[in-house]
């Protein structure tokens, strides 16, 4: 028998094994014992314990959760099978307590009456939502049409039952109106008003569901009828009398779909200019591949540009800005052009400027800015090492124009 004595124990057991509970709830009646024990989050011992606590059941090697637990989850999530029977129980309880209250005006009976009125309201709404969900789900997902029809018929019956309960509840509320007004209890009054409103609303909702069910059943029925007809047509066709004993020809003649009338997709010619574009080239390439033409590759696509091409451009721009460099040179008097360039600290963005590059810059400036420079026509020597050999380079002494020197 169940060892669950209190809520706390039950909750902590469920919580402790929440992974298992979730799995078993999600895949009802599909998990085998071996599968479950193969998981990391449960040991054989724990499993035995859960069985002994009646939380899990094992039947023919399939593990399932205790039905009460499943029912609790389903109730909360408003899923699962429609079970209007509960409502009837509540109605009976309600009647009993009303009788008690009529006998002895005690608060405890009134409390129960309120409780059951609330419960009836909540349960009705929940059952109707479930009904709606299930009807829709059955129509859309039940693949076996016979079961589908049967299920829909069942739901229709359940709907009738719920309507009956609604009527019963309305009757009870009406009968006890005087009793309730005597109590002068504002809470009870509120509950009854809410219940009445939701009864009317739910009745409307049920009518809608009824239309849905009828519609779904009709659709299935239509499909079945057509299928029967299709089979008969096939028989007629196999007899070779399709064109003579039916108006098939006539019907087909009147079919106006584009596809069946030999209309092709409207085709447009490709403009020649487009073929010269990059997209056009891709198109040509595809066609040439398809027809195995190999000589078409006259013009290819340009290679992808390097990702850093922008940075490179920047570098060039800075280098080319020699004018400022010359200006700076002209505004100093200590060094000659060659020394100035050799020692010049170029901005970091350019990076390391090699000896050769400085040299070519020297030549460039000497040629382009000769008017602003003072050529001394005297050689000076610069010693440097290239690899391991010592080298000496002779260069012309170039100074800023004299006037500027004088000014300084």
């Amino acid at each position: 028998m169940s060892l669950q004595v209190n809520v706390k124990d039950l909750l902590s057991n469920l919580y402790h094994n929440r992974g298992i509970v979730e799995l078993l709830f999600g895949q009802r009646d599909q998990v085998t014992v071996n599968e479950l024990l193969g998981r990391d989050d449960i040991t054989e011992e724990q499993y035995k314990k859960l069985i002994s606590l009646d939380i899990l059941f094992e039947y023919e090697n399939i593990v399932s959760l205790n039905d009460s637990v499943v029912a609790m989850f389903e109730d909360f999530m408003e899923i699962g099978e429609v079970t209007p029977g509960f409502i009837n129980d509540y109605i009976n309880e309600l009647k009993r307590h009303i009788a008690f209250y009529q006998e002895a005006r005690e608060m405890r009976f009134l409390r129960s009456i309120k409780k059951y009125l609330k419960r009836i309201n909540a349960t009705l709404t929940r059952e109707i939502i479930k009904l709606q969900k299930n009807v829709d789900d059955t129509y859309k997902n039940e693949s076996n049409y016979r079961i589908k029809l049967q299920k829909l018929e069942d739901y229709r019956e359940k709907r009738d039952t719920i309507i009956e309960f609604i009527k019963k509840t309305t009757d009870i509320v009406d009968e006890t109106r005087t009793l309730f007004s005597i109590t002068n209890d504002s809470e009870l009054f509120g509950i009854v008003t809410a219940l009445k409103a939701s009864l009317i609303e739910n009745l409307d909702f049920l009518i809608e569901i009824q239309t849905d069910i009828t519609d779904f059943i009709n659709k299935i029925q239509f499909q079945l009828d057509v299928y029967k007809k299709a089979q008969r047509l096939k028989e007629v066709k196999d007899h070779g009398t399709l064109h003579f004993k039916t108006n098939f020809r006539e019907i087909v003649q009147n079919i106006n779909t584009l596809k069946h009338n030999g209309h092709k997709t409207p085709k447009t010619k490709i403009p020649i200019d487009f073929l010269y574009s990059d997209d056009g080239h891709v198109l040509c390439k595809r066609i040439s591949e398809k027809y195995k033409i190999t000589r078409l590759m006259v013009r290819g696509l340009a290679d992808k540009m390097a990702g850093n091409f922008k940075d490179k451009g920047l570098e060039q721009q800075i280098k080319l800005d020699t004018e400022k460099l010359v200006d700076r040179f002209l505004n100093q008097g200590k060094q000659n052009l060659f020394e100035y360039l050799m020692d010049y600290k170029f901005p970091k963005m350019i990076g390391n400027v090699s000896f050769e590059e400085r040299l070519s810059l020297f030549v460039e400036i000497a040629m382009e800015y000769q008017t602003q420079l003072d050529f001394k026509y005297r050689l000076q020597y610069h010693d440097y090492t290239e690899g391991e050999t010592k080298k000496r380079l002779g260069y012309t002494l170039i100074l800023p124009m004299k006037e500027k020197v004088k000014k300084k």
């Binding site: 859309k140 693949s143 076996n144 049409y145 659709k219 299935i220 239509f222 499909q223 079945l224 009828d225 057509v226 299928y227 029967k228 007809k229 299709a230 089979q231 008969r232 047509l233 096939k234 028989e235 007629v236 066709k237 196999d238 007899h239 009398t241 399709l242 064109h243 004993k245 039916t246 108006n247 098939f248 020809r249 019907i251 087909v252 003649q253 009147n254 079919i255 106006n256 779909t257 584009l258 596809k259 069946h260 009338n261 030999g262 209309h263 997709t265 409207p266």
Partner: protein, 201 residues
Amino acid sequence: MEEYNFNLPKQTHDIFAVMARGAFISSNGTRDGMNRLYDVINNPENFDRLQAYFNVIRYNIERGNNFFYFSKLHEPNSEIEKKLERFERYIDIIDLFASMDNKIGIGSRFRPSEIAEECNANVRLKQKLQKIPLYRSETLHNKVREICDLMSRDSFLELEDEKTESYKVLDSYTYLLDIINSVAIYEESGSGDDTQGLIYN
């Protein structure tokens, strides 16, 4: 620019591209945003504008139960022989679908292998499948695949999942059912037993 003058939805081009190909737009299709296109056409304001717009180029939007397609205005329907051939084939296919234990209807999902297996287990179905003309595939499975492929090209089915090869029956399938439903059979063609015998042969 013209689009703005007509106040057309921005999906007009997509709608035209699908329907001018002769395809159906079904409400339960999911590929290439088909259900979205359906909703666009189904909006009454859009429908009137689109209809007026396409009518200019002599296309007419035809409305079915949860699907749309194009027809051509002022143009005699042609190619009767081809059409007859096609629809005879549809009868074969629908007859096969109708004879399955688990009938395939609108919204059903199935895999060709399931049909092939059922056909393999049932002599009557096997013969039905084998007698469907135009297919040269050797195995039953390939034959069913070809049928599914053909039906998908005609936009009655949709390949929902390529990996599992799972197909879904679209709303446009109603069109075929409607056609079949509208064919009148003038008289009972022989007794039931007789025809049964013929199928068994």
